[in-house]
Symmetry: D3
Subunit: 283 residues, 6 copies
């Protein structure tokens, strides 16, 4: 490297380090050190092996050693969580909720299997359906959020978002037998409340219609996402916005923009599109 | 770890292992051991190197050693597939179809290049376009499914789904010169039949409108997805549902919800949206 | 392996190597050797550590060593870029633009934080929001494209596309304080021009309505994507197509298909969907 | 690469492939495919974790999960050995001998601890003493050789030889409470018979004095290495050659060249070296 | 796995877990968890980069960033050592001694370079001479032992022993300008005291002649290894045993067995070997 | 980290960076950047696969693809060597010598097999005998040294030294059919000349007796190591020093210290050791 380049690099490094100077892009350092993402991935991998033994393990696990494997996984999980949560009581509380999380995930597997003619077995659903991965991450993150663990829950759901295109905020509340088909583009907002036996298709947004702002102009974190009652189905690419209730057994068709409440047993469908032979549109 | 925690962990492990008890989330163990996902990734990586030599290899491959590289890759592929398919005749049958798969992929590359003004070269399309990755995975998975290989084809297409947001069921039938632009959110269902020279944009769903159920209440796996004839273009975020036919040379505009057949040469566009200055909507 | 299989494999390898024969799928070899994707990932990882020290590093970085870390990262980046760009002057030019890129990214972080009630801190936005990752990749790729670096910019944005579902072409021009929420399915085309303080939601397409073709039937690379002026908000799953201008302070609702210009301060919303109790539709 | 270089490389590759031509270095291909060394390393790592739980594992192992860990390790070992030995009965036979191997190794640990004033604990011996590693490999390899497993035993002892400089042929027979201090350069030949409570120092050779040859001029594999009776100590760099017996409780000093039998309770020491002030030797 | 095998494995696992039963090889669990060897390797790698910048780093380090690299390495070392030593004051004390260790190592490099005609540069000595690696490990381990750190020092010197065949106990005291040529088989005992400008060749043992035993029959840890004064040279494969003094400027020839003190300026050489034409010896 | 510690670390880093100040251990920076050791390891691994196909490869290599594998390996080797040697002509010259190196190695394999009754096959020798690894490294390094490549040859032989305990200087000249048994502690000096059919055992040193010094007091690099003629055998732990000739067909017994020439057909053996019952020696 010649001397001019060395001088330039030194100067640029100096500029980039002056992060307290606003015009060079001031970002405050994180209040506490960021959780190590590789540890979080290891934690989720352990949890998948605990919930679904012999599905995601590198080596084969016989039925007769299944309990030993779970012993081993739980001990490693306990140690990892202690490091991430910095408090062994919280770790134990969380681990104590694993059987219930496992039970809920089993209802999701059943729901996805029973509603998809392309599903050939429970095994195929567990191994291949991105929504299962999203639900494992969400249900774990939701429990951690309920215990007031910061940042970690959001990183967990974003890992699933990146892998599946399904973006569920850990704050959302979701019942049993929940299913999502295909899933890419699904967004479920922070204050959603979803009942049992609900089914979503790809591209469905359960979002906020607008925000209330505080006196500093920052949006308030209020209930602002939909309530979806039991046995609702929402087809692909529909958008449900605001603190509205979609009544039980309602069916929302695809490509719907819905900002008002819907009574139970409703059927909402899009108007028929215009069909024409217009060459001039350029499409 | 103190004694109380040890006792708790032991008890939780016991509960999690009682998977036969329904209330703790009963998931039957997989009938046969699950295919190793790392092996499948290695297989797909080999196939990409075979189809597109010198594009995805870590080291440079000269023209003069290309044939030797393919020898080496094929031998490794033969060995990997024998392990995954457990039957060498099936392995050989599949490998025998690689030249045809390569030919089809070359038509896809050409189609994507010729229809996108942003594409600067075939190389850029192969290296950067997510739809190429999706089509490599789909065309390989489709051949395996035709040979009645279970589970594996679905894992292969889901790997592409996760990486690209494009979800093509391995059962779909897709012709030559197929192209997808951008691709995130595209869903192509199990019983779709797609002709030649078809072009899709991001967010397009080719899905089922509804299912027929058997006497146990489970949905029947019948032809339920669209037939798309030659030279059709479907723009972004449109949804085509049911066993309907989109006639050749038809153009479907964006954000369309289509559940009826469309004759050849049609142009379908969305009605103009309402434009208004309504502050009360909160958006 | 028996003799028949060996003979078959030899023959198939021969066929696959005859890439110059058109019927076996002719793909020309890349004009120059493809950039090594692992190097590009290392480059992006270095850049993230330079822009946001102590957020993405494996080990903790104290405030007192921050400048030393940046020295070390910059030197490694210089070496990597020399290898990728093959010209040290271009490398230095690019590195000289890093403070400005960092400043722009800081405005994006601020914009995403201030417009999302679910955001609890700048740190959470940097660590968890996929749109930050997409913007780091885009802003870096855009600078490289401005310096006429081939292929590399597109690979960089596709890496973000795969991880986030947000597809921004490196050729697009995007102002300060840009924000995207959720992001899956967002597409921003090559010739887009986007002002300051613009906000997009998931599934928004800023695309081309149609192409002009040259005498060989290939589409011309002309300005064909929208111009979005300052302070515009576009809600989820809307599609804006063609070289049209969306005037400043306009708000486009969700699920809109827009192919005409929109004046400043407009509010565009979708017509209310038909609500009905039709059982016969099968949905 | 220019054309001349390509031509040269092609020609050299051709020459290197003509392995059947004697003048280019004829080495017959291995009769069966060579055992995968990485699998063997994994096997030895599992065995170390089984023999000495919580010493060599990456993560901490509590007393309360020790049995579960051993279950998990044994299952993995069973699977690995099946692959390496190609016969599940042999695998089970070998695993059935593990408790006895563990018992023998415990006597070795005790012997090394009790005879070295620098040893501070059993733990230090297990973790740090190269002779323990050598004995784990030897005792495992010896059992496999007794079961007529080919090649594998020799690879196992050579792995220890490379790591420790201690070269024990798997065919040697070694009793309980065996110890080696420092160990570099120790050689124990194929037909050695070593009693209990024997102690060796670095550089000791227990070798053959000469060979009997068959009619083709190849050396015969006969008993040709020493018999070392109980409670013998052999100090550093001594060489004991041929089928001679070193009687029980004998002590062989350092730097001894011994080719004749030694009665019990002997003390063998080197003659005093010449001490002189000779400058002419050049040392 | 058939039922018989499962039963057998269960039973063997049970036996192997009964470690408290003496006849199955009782080894007490380590009093505290064993230091993680991978962390220790990382620590030694950091130290080598600190002592010899730009020699062992993966990437090139310019002179102008050398100080920044050392900042970064020291911070990482501080964090690693805190974890290994569990006490930050000890960590700081150790780091404070690094400049002195570096100075001593520089004298060793100079000594090895100046006394070996095959050495072409200081760089070759640092990069290739195993004795440098051994001395880095020894000098670091010796400082830690002086601070009463348990187990860790011995693991550090054993890592060097395994890589180089040079076995230096961390308790030995070694002066400046120390050199070892080739080095395989060198053993330097725990209570050795070695002056300045001492040179050893391969296979040299500085060991104990015998031990004093306590009333339980265990050997006492007393001064029992030689004192080597300044400017002594000891040639290959010689053995010096017991608490004897080798006077300054003495030269010990090769293959010597020495158990008595040697005055300054002595020359000790082996008697001439017998030369004969005896065929009957079988060698 | 508290402020005092930060201050201390800063100061220590400063001291460690003042490498030009003599009292802090002055080591000049390497004249040119050090060769990357991982690349050298990859090079040696390629060479082993080229010399002995199907012995050291991770995957199985059929006879029918052997030539293709060699093509692929040679191309990668060409690329790696260009990077290490910085000159493509030298690279080609070296690769052109590979067939001769392979031929020499095949004679070594034959020699080691034919002289060891414990050897069961050529395959076992290639896979397990450390001397084969040492000879591959030496013969490659020797060719590079003959081409005046600096540093690299020495690193190559030191890699083998570390793995096998056999230290052969790349400058030594060694004929055909060379064999070493066990090998730990063997040292072969820079100016040795060794004929054909020579056999060494563990611990043999072929070294220098003394050096001539130049006017600066540095030792001169002159011929100073032994000449070993054809068909010589040297048994374990013997030391042959100085520019003396060991005549053809001579046999040197074990533990010999030899500084004078030996005529052809000699037999040199050690005098019988003193046998005594002296308890007072403390051994």
């Amino acid at each position: 490297m010649n001397t001019t380049h060395i001088e330039s690099l030194k100067q640029i490094a100096g500029t980039l380090s002056q992060s307290e100077v606003k015009e060079y892009g001031y970002i405050p350092r994180p209040a506490q050190s960021s959780p190590n993402v590789n540890r979080i991935k290891e934690m989720m991998s352990l949890l998948k092996s605990i919930f679904f033994p012999d599905f995601f393990d590198d080596a084969e696990i016989s039925a007769y050693t299944q309990e030993s494997h779970i012993d081993v996984y739980l001990e490693r999980l306990y140690s990892l969580l202690n490091e991430l949560l910095c408090q062994s009581e919280r770790t134990l509380t969380f681990i104590g909720r694993l059987p219930e999380i496992k039970r809920l995930l089993a209802t999701d597997v059943k729901a996805m299997h029973d509603s998809d003619p392309a599903a050939t077995s429970y095994s195929e659903v567990i191994l291949c359906y991105p929504a299962i991965q999203a639900m494992v991450h969400y249900r774990v993150a939701h429990e951690l959020l309920r215990m007031d663990v910061p940042v970690l829950p959001r990183i967990i759901t974003e890992l699933a978002h990146s892998a599946t295109g399904i973006d569920i905020h850990p704050g959302a509340r979701i019942g049993e037998y929940f299913s999502i088909d295909h899933g890419t583009g699904v967004v479920i907002g922070e204050t959603c409340v979803i009942g049992n036996h609900v089914r979503l298709y790809q591209g469905v947004t359960l979002g906020a219609k607008g925000f209330t702002f505080d006196h500093e102009g920052l949006p308030l974190n209020e209930p602002r996402h939909p309530i979806i009652e039991d046995h609702v189905i929402i087809y692909s690419n529909s958008t449900i916005l605001g603190r509205i209730t979609i009544g039980h057994h309602a069916v929302i068709g695809g490509n719907i923009w819905q900002v008002y409440a819907v009574p139970p047993y409703s059927r909402i469908i899009q108007k028929k599109a215009t069909s024409s032979f217009t060459d001039g549109l350029g499409i």
